[in-house]
Symmetry: C2
Amino acid sequence: MRISELSRQSGVPVASIKYYLRKGLMPAGRAMGATLAEYGEEHVQRLRLIRALTTLGGLSIAAARDVLAEIDQPHDDPRGMLGVIHYALRTPADAGATGAEELTERVDSLVEAMDWDVSEASPHRLALAASLRELSRLGMDFGVDDLLPYATLAAAVARLDLDQIDGIEDRMALAERAAIITLLLEPVLALLRRLAQEGEARRRTAEAAAPHTA
Amino acid sequence: MRISELSRQSGVPVASIKYYLRKGLMPAGRAMGATLAEYGEEHVQRLRLIRALTTLGGLSIAAARDVLAEIDQPHDDPRGMLGVIHYALRTPADAGATGAEELTERVDSLVEAMDWDVSEASPHRLALAASLRELSRLGMDFGVDDLLPYATLAAAVARLDLDQIDGIEDRMALAERAAIITLLLEPVLALLRRLAQEGEARRRTAEAAAPHTA
DNA sequence: CAGGACTGGATAGTGTGAGTATCTAGGCTT
DNA sequence: AAGCCTAGATACTCACACTATCCAGTCCTG
């Protein structure tokens, strides 16, 4: 299929497709001549993934490129790839690590208490410490004890996540699924949390108004 | 305190402070003359909150303005304010609602199954439907049964969230806390999830290699 | 086999968001 | 009175994600 057909099927403007090609988010089509290339179904799928990563996942073009490059890499240990994808995603919260030593310790205690086998060098440790420091400066200090319940729930979520990609044999498909689960389920979880907050808030308000019906 | 002192204490450049004032994120200082205004500790705090919302929470200036405006409003039902804050936050996923009818039904079933008392008009319903549709087009279709375990965990998280702001009497402080919990805990939860994923993935890999030690 | 539509690739332009810098009077401090 | 600092307005910058033009080269049609 030619680029105009690819554009029609995917709904992505030709100029944007060219832009993604330039930026290295998509492999070029099979060249059939100096001014002609052949695209396939996999390109349609790739465009869908790109749009999902950027719009749903909120990734920048550069971050999406890194994640896609990781997906395309053959992985010996498919499960370990999750970590690598995570590494490709610097949260913007890693700026200003000054004075986060105490918070880093807190994160380490938490990881240990949860018995999580997480790389010492994981950027998430630092990112989490930075987030906690920011919250602390806003007057909301979360100690290990405050975080443990949240961490326990996060562990339960992670188990569900890994169940989703269990039993997929094709490595390429697995890598893609892992990325989708990690990145694109995040907004879904955030939305579920908000819906739940709204429901729980109303429940508590109602109970406060009429405690006997509880 | 003058603006330069405010800048020094908060670490935010004078030009940026003026920018936030222009955009309506901060109340102006008390005018002491045509070219002089007095700022207080509350302005320092406000700047911290603005920076946290934009950098940690990833909000745009416009979204942060809406949230802050909501915080500043006096609320009759402080808990219900959570919902209002949510409304001020359109997720970018609300574009393209075509063909989401079936997914909307699915979301409605889920909300009903969870017994969440959520407004019929909540933008989260539509946003969730749109996210699910996108995931479905990527080959990951989540039915109500798949979502229920996640929703149950989300409900548990929401209970923890509301516990955090329980017992705060000052309405202004409560509004701010509610916003912080909802918005700024989100990246923390995402990081916990990723740490947990990494831990769980390694655990499963290890168990697959040596099942007898499990 | 000529004309027009289409193509890949390069280059340039656009619009938005989030600041950053400059300018102009006016005021405060010593 | 001199030399700052200040509020407010306006203008400028920079990155990002496109979007539009250009330019040969190619294909297809009549």
